[in-house]
Amino acid sequence: MAAFHAAGSAAPYAGLKVVELAEDVGGEFLGRMLAEMGADVIKAEPPAGSPTRALGPFAKHVESPDTSLTFWLYNSNKRSVVVDLEKGAEAALAPLLAGADIFIVTLQPARLKALDLDLDRLSARYPRLIIASMTPYGLTGPWADYRSSNLVALAGGGPLNMCGYDDHSIPPINPGGDQAYHAATAFAHIGVLVALLHRQQTGEGQLLDVSMHGANAVNQELGNPFWFYNGVNVQRQTCRHAQPVMTQSAMFACADGHYVYYTLILGDTRAWNVLVEWMDEMGLAAMLTDPEYQDIKFRQDNFHQIQELVECFFLVQDGHDAYLEGQRRGLPIGIMNTPEDLLDDEHLQAREFFVKVDMGPEQGEILFPGDSYRFSAFGSVPRRRAPRLGEHTSEFLEDVAA
């Protein structure tokens, strides 16, 4: 199948109006996802700008509200309108919410109360509006106003317990990127779609209460099932699955300083033979070609010796060579790419994954990651740079006045 080339239809969210009152990257990522698929997303910002504008890294290391790469990444394709909530939140938001389809709001209950912004009341006032509340712990419950951060959310939700090193004197280690927020965003997007389908069916909007804590608690893959069924907790292990017992390393260092990921499954005779043939061709199979290694039990009994030979085998190759050759032979092996490696990846280039975004005369064109899903019937909308603070305030006021 060839890559899809954006077909005729408009992106699915075309015509939808979204108001985003988001102070963290989770809410902003949801707004971006909607904008990329055609929605008109207005980011309501306080006069001082969204707190994410103060987060680095900064373009060319120049700190300013309009050069935050965090802000750029999570706010492409939006419009920025300055709204001062301190002067009466509901009244200030009213011009934006009139005619809006979706309202993204990340404020926790105490903040909402302080601003006298009652989401149930809003939901009643705008019956077709879908309100996506995205908060650290949800709108109810004993922890509803507890504070959070990406690290704290991964800890409380459970994924952090699964990540780190074999050496348990080292604490669990954060997996990179703001993944606690990203998990909440993934669920919030699903929730918004469910609400849009519900509205197609019934005409009514509703209030969604998305909990980042809950999103992370159900995002542990094997962690919960091992507890539900086996009644055991999993233990973190270096760069491989946390499991009830410790297993062998699946990460192999290569000659050029890269690592590859490969799980040696001794019970899989087909994969074993493919690996040994490959090692043998490179003159590195040693005794693994001996007939007794055809016996699974024998392989299991000699696991450490096998592991050492495989370590040596990868250590004399460059990472990318081992990756491509292993995959050519049908083994599920992965190169551990750095972010900068991705720009040179021939597969991503062939799929035209990275896209150029024009950041204006000062910054020029830069590369952004492209779509996470592709459709034959419609494309996403072209990426537009994140807005400068208040860039669209006057335009919006003129629209309202018109």
Binding site: N150, I173, A186, I190, L193, L197, A217, N230, N337
Partner: protein
Amino acid sequence: MGQSPKAAERAVAVAAAAADPARRPRSSFGPLAGVRVADFCWMGVGACATRILGDFGAEVIRIEDRNRLDMPRVLPIYKGAGARNYGEGDPDPDPNAGGLFNNYNRNKLGVTINMRDPRGRALCERLIASSSVVTENFAPGVMERWGLTYDYIRTLTPNPIMARMSGFGHSGPHADFKSYGPVVQAVSGLSFISGLPGREPSGWGLSYMDNMAAFYNGAALLMAIYHRNQTGEGTEIDVSAIEAGINLLGPILLDVTVNGRRTKDDPNYPLGNRVEYPNAAPHGVYPVRGEDRWIAISVFDEAGWAALVAELGNPDWAGEARFATQARRFEHQDALDALVGEATATRERYDLMHRLQARGVAAAVVQTPEDVNEHDPQLAQSGVFFDLDHPVIGRARFEGTPIRFSKTTQDYWRSAPLLGEDNHYVFTELLGLSEDEYQTYAAEGVI
């Protein structure tokens, strides 16, 4: 696979379940009511995606192969299996006892079809013809081998949606590369960006990208259904888990594309539990009382620092000049983390968490699955975990949707199907096989 000595016993269990009125398929409600899905998805990533459709009212019919059982059916994750890793399976696992399968396949019907038999292929096409959505996550080429391309499926059913989920996507030179969660995490960069500086990456202790790719696939399917409801138009969907993963790297990717940052030889990268932006400190995971017990603490400002210091009993070191400002604390994090860790090490984990939170400091116990399920009042009140009965497994717990909807009702109507549990219902009542044909197909291994 040879016939299990327990085959007869297992067949009795399936027959009993199929005859149980409480498990009989019934008309669904919800925003996807009326959408039938011919679901070829398997493993975690595929099943987790179509679970979303079943949770909101779609009639998801899982098509399985008796001769190539879905891995989650046979992993040693079942009641009584004890502490084993997932590679230590049984020689003759009961495919109906698998806990991971149950977790991923609630609210779905289950049928078996032998695609090596032409009658099985024809039956499968009848199922697709009565469906409007087809989903799959096989290795690239499998659907093509059966002739089930999007173009062909369009001749079977009008305006279909066909979702194809894979590691690398269905075009490009690496389209046929093999992958599963950890490989996707490695290739997308998510593993490399995770770890302590100066050490090997610690990466991921879970197939994060199986879950996240499933959620992206679920969203893509919902988007396609929404679009079809608006326009009448179907679509093929191509999701590459690796591309979804790259979108999750965060601003580090723009630091590379805009500022030319090199992470590979940077002695201060990755960041471990610290953050570069803002200059938060202390920001880490610290020991608490007990074996391998930890608490995560994030301090972003002077108020947070004052609150933490007060909770730790105003130790003398907190007044040292090197910790006097946020910038200085950030600069001296190695020393600061060691001192904070010494102070927390004697504290009870939940007591410290709640006391810090009461003072306005972001803190959470590093919770285990046991903690999340048994010791967390916030999750308990949310109802995100719930229980369902299962004919072989008994009562079991499930991971629900971490969203409360004010209007939409989620219908958790049934635990996962036993192998072929819904064959009779689907093949005779929905697709119109006669009883005789059904019995012949069953006897001759077509289903």
